[in-house]
Symmetry: C2
Subunit: 621 residues, 2 copies
């Protein structure tokens, strides 16, 4: 994920000590009120220890969110710690972290009284009280570290003003009220200190497998890095396994975060290097430095990945990720994304990932398979698109050839695009009928790429198809975005983690280049009737020279949903399975999955739901 | 509208007298119950005289529906007369009159007790009780002519199982239960006698203008026609105005239906013939007869149109439709569509239209303008489409030239397509921004083409654009449907009635033929790379030879929403306004109208809609 950037959140200046002292006095005064309130509300409130997930909201860590998820109740319980309560706060969710059209819980004070309510912001950012109150306050509690607010929210409220909490990324937003406000309407959302934090709110409800007695740990941590005083840094640190380290199974890993840096360490990955090189230099520095040896680009095999808000990652009890032993490289690369929007200087960090591994190999080696689109410029996105869709296929022909009769089980997935990616979904299809979603993120952000455990194992059998669809936004671009490795080029990939490992490393597609050639001919002829087709220039050059009117754009869409594909059904990135993989028919879907009907909280209607008995007597015998 | 056919409804055999007598006894017995029920429910029930609209549901007239519309309450009150009550009935609404996915009110009896409830049918036609009861029973009343059921239904219920009552056509469906049923689930919807009736349920709420004292009437009626014993007949009857009949204004007209034929006379129109012919023969016979003189095809200028369920048509008080006087033909053609699905024999009919006219001319002559698509094969619909959209434009350039500075006022509209038409809408756009809907019918049927009064006058000024969009279904066709006059060709027209009359009779468009030629070239090249473009065959022939895959279909769509248009901005069907009308830019819409948010009946939620007061005291001063 080199070169990723994170959208900034505005700095929130520290309040002066004087104000803090005044606040303390007030808090002491109002403690009695709070006790009453908490007692009154505590009946249905979970205890503080019941919040397994935690994430700082702001870069200073003044706001800390903990939560739990009840799937039976379809409800999320939130516990928000406000370390420095001022005149209230906004907390909520929106499509991509914007403050317009957001769904908000607001705590506000007019200087005398305080209020809590469910609100929403319109397209101009103006706040409105919601007619249906779905953020339900359960309690408030004063502690030495700050004020705790407890509230709950159903996944789905069926209120059109409310955000629908779905699997995948949720963009949480917060804002701090620094002056008294007399009403919701008086809050000027653009003038407050605010920011966003991305989390996977609906964590899967997975039972932790039993861990073996001979389990060992290994910390892959960067030693005492001085975090650069810039918003975004990708730090690269090379290390190596001991000599003659035999094959082990990684069965779990978890983050190791230097205390105090919880809000700065955005995400981390451990990569294994390619086995064909005997050695790699011990680099320790920014990934984009000119000093970085080029060979480090051959360290791309993911061993572990963590992102803010994620917990420990456990392999299923039947499987482990092989590392060590003959045929694999001893060299590992740790990559840390530091997100330092307040540009702190001189912060030292030794964060990294702790691997838990065992010499007692589990039944299955886990494998990672790449689904989606081949990295090729033939798959392109016109400029100025708000939601352009590209689809990559893993065909029945490939799975037929490469998967064992008993199938494989996918247990985790990491979605990947570059900067224009907005949604990613992989669907499993069998005999043309969609069976289930493998992984979906309707609020996907390239700045938040976790390996996510699936809620349930997905069984894939020979003959199944895996269809990965990515949605891109290129509204801010003036020329076409082609597929490729560059950060301004695009990818559409789902790395699925599965067992038992097979030879199939890559099952991806791209449009047939011959059909794309016809498209360029067509564009030339249609737009300027008697001009000849272009000479042999590169595909990106041809895309860059297309005049992007609605017709050329629509026809490209039609091409991608019609033209045959070139399949990459590969053992490794260069070795294909034997067979004919060019000009393959596009998989067709004859039966789509039903859109899930949102489960709404019960709202007793004004009318009886039963038949009205009518004493007409028997009408006729 | 020649050649229209109406989908049949199954014959409903008459019950034997014996059963009727038994039923009478039961009704006498249960009268007491009914009285109690009616008294209990009558509080909110409107009186019988309060139902201004009436339509027979079945071809025998055993079921008769009356209704009224309350726009302030957004509610329709229904009064259903069951002349021959058996074991209950189904009454409801569905998208196009189908019994699957329908929204139904059901009255049913198990032989002992009777029930009324709001139900819905699923995609297989299975009935289910609705969890929200939105058909609300207000009362039941026994009268000599039968049982009256009174119930109400909000336009919009926000229940996803319910039909949304909108402007335009509503397909009413009915079914008669002839055996006792023990529950809703026991009703086999495919085995009952059933049918459909199309009505405009939401009649506009228009105050009738004052009528002048010198008003005269003229009945244009077919004299003593024997209705043919076949399901569909279009009857043509020629008549003429008196010699030297001076110019008058038609200010109103209404149907004249022979008593007993209310369920057979489906729709009627009075046309004026073309002035260029001195005489027309006095034909009286079926419109599709070989005996019909060809010259009658020149009688197409609509003077009046009525369809089942419509009431009298009133011109606005400022305007009247000119007829008589120099420069207009004395000859009139009456066309009656008889719908006789039960194939009654020997029924005699003298129905027609009564014109109300005055010699005291009103301030403005009313005019009729044709909007939409030119009748040309260049606008075509691929086969197998469930909802293909074609759009016709009346451009700013044409209205700029042809309309007076003070604008025109549209007061009525008649939508027109041939058999594949499913929806029609005309939108007024100004400076690229949609302003208002002129007329819309989301459940349009080619079998139900009324002239409809608009709820409010639509003012159109020079520079405005009128965009007419038609949606077609060609799922049952195997070759392309091209534009044209034939019944299996298509049209997309909105005849708007307006004042003051202008010279602009026709403001329609079609795709530029040169761009369509490029499309055919593209299709040839793309689908079979090195084949030459077709020789000069006709446009329909070229459309018929297109291999209709998704690509060719999608590209045709893209072409129609991109290519420049040829405008017909005409004084009459052959005379254009001066100006350049070829290769005109397609009007663009920069701002669409907001979809109206359905108004839901109030349903008090489980939670308070107000802020929860929180006694935190002042947080900080």
């Amino acid at each position: 994920l080199p070169g990723m950037q994170t959208s900034g959140s505005k700095p929130c200046p520290c309040p002066s000590f004087k104000l803090r002292e005044v606040a303390s006095m007030y808090f002491t005064m109002i403690a009695v009120f709070l006790v009453i309130l908490v007692v009154a509300l505590q009946g249905s409130a979970p205890r503080g220890s019941d919040f397994p997930y935690k994430v700082p909201l702001d870069p200073q860590g003044l706001l800390e969110l903990s939560w739990n998820v009840s799937y039976p109740q379809q409800v999320v319980h939130f516990q928000l710690l406000l370390r420095d309560l001022r005149f209230g706060l906004l907390f909520g969710m929106s499509d991509r972290g914007e403050f317009e059209n957001a769904d908000l819980a607001v705590l506000w004070s007019d200087g005398h009284n305080s209020y809590f309510g469910d609100a929403w912001s319109d397209a101009k950012g103006q706040l409105h009280m919601d007619s249906q109150q779905d953020y339900q306050l359960l309690g408030a509690r004063r502690a030495p570290e700050g004020l705790y607010l407890l509230f709950r929210r159903a996944f789905s409220t069926c209120d059109p003003k409310d955000y629908l909490i779905e699997d995948g990324t949720v963009h949480l937003i917060y804002g701090i009220l620094e002056k008294p406000v007399h009403s919701l309407h008086a809050i000027n959302i653009s003038a407050i200190h605010r920011g966003l934090q991305r989390v996977q709110l609906l964590k899967p409800n997975i039972t932790v497998p039993e861990l073996p007695r001979d389990m060992k740990t290994m910390e892959i941590t960067a030693p005492n890095v001085v975090i650069p005083s810039q918003e975004t840094t990708y730090w690269c640190y090379m290390t190596e396994l001991p000599a003659d380290f035999p094959k082990h199974h990684i069965i779990m890993y978890e983050p190791v975060i230097t205390a105090g840096n919880e809000a700065l360490v955005h995400h981390m990955e451990v990569f294994q290097c390619a086995a064909e090189f005997d050695s790699f230099s011990h680099y320790n520095g920014p990934c984009d430095s000119k000093m970085k040896p080029d060979r480090l680009n051959y360290c791309r095999h993911v061993l572990a990945a963590w992102a803010m808000g994620a917990q420990a990652f456990y392999y299923p009890k039947e499987a482990g990720l092989a590392f060590g032993g003959p045929g694999s490289s001893r060299y590992l690369r740790l990559e840390i994304h530091y997100h330092n929007p307040l540009v702190f200087e001189g912060r030292r960090d030794s964060s990294g990932i702790r691997l838990y591994y065992t010499a007692t190999l589990r039944r299955y080696d886990a494998g990672i398979m790449e689904l989606g689109l081949v990295y090729t410029p033939v798959m392109a996105i016109p400029p100025g698109e708000d939601a352009f869709i590209l689809t990559g296929y893993c065909t029945d022909k490939c799975t037929q050839l490469a998967l064992p009769a008993a199938g494989i089980r996918i247990f985790a997935s990491q979605l990947h695009t570059h900067l224009a990616g907005r949604k990613v979904v992989t669907v499993l299809s069998r005999d043309g009928r969609e069976q289930q979603v493998v992984n979906a993120d309707g609020h996907y952000s390239p700045h938040f790429q976790e390996i996510r455990m699936l809620k349930e194992l997905v069984a894939v059998f020979p003959g199944d198809e895996l269809i990965t669809t990515c949605t891109y936004n290129t509204e801010d671009r003036s020329r076409a975005t082609v597929g490729g490795f560059g950060i301004l080029e695009e990818m559409c990939v789902n790395y699925v983690h599965y067992y038992p490992q097979t030879q199939l490393e890559l099952c991806k597609s791209a449009v047939d280049p011959g059909y794309l050639h016809r498209y360029f001919n067509l564009v030339n002829r249609f737009n300027d009737e008697e001009v000849c087709t272009c000479p042999q220039v590169s595909v990106p050059q041809q895309f860059f020279s297309v005049p992007w009117n609605t017709f050329n754009r629509d026809v490209l869409k039609s091409l991608y949903s019609f033209a045959p594909i070139s399949m990459h059904c590969n053992k490794s990135s260069a070795v294909r399975f034997p067979g004919e993989w060019e000009k393959q028919p596009l998989p067709t879907i004859t039966e789509r999955m039903q859109e899930p009907v949102p489960h709404c909280p019960p709202a007793p209607g004004p009318r009886p739901a039963a038949p009205v008995p009518l004493n007409l007597g028997p009408l006729r015998r």
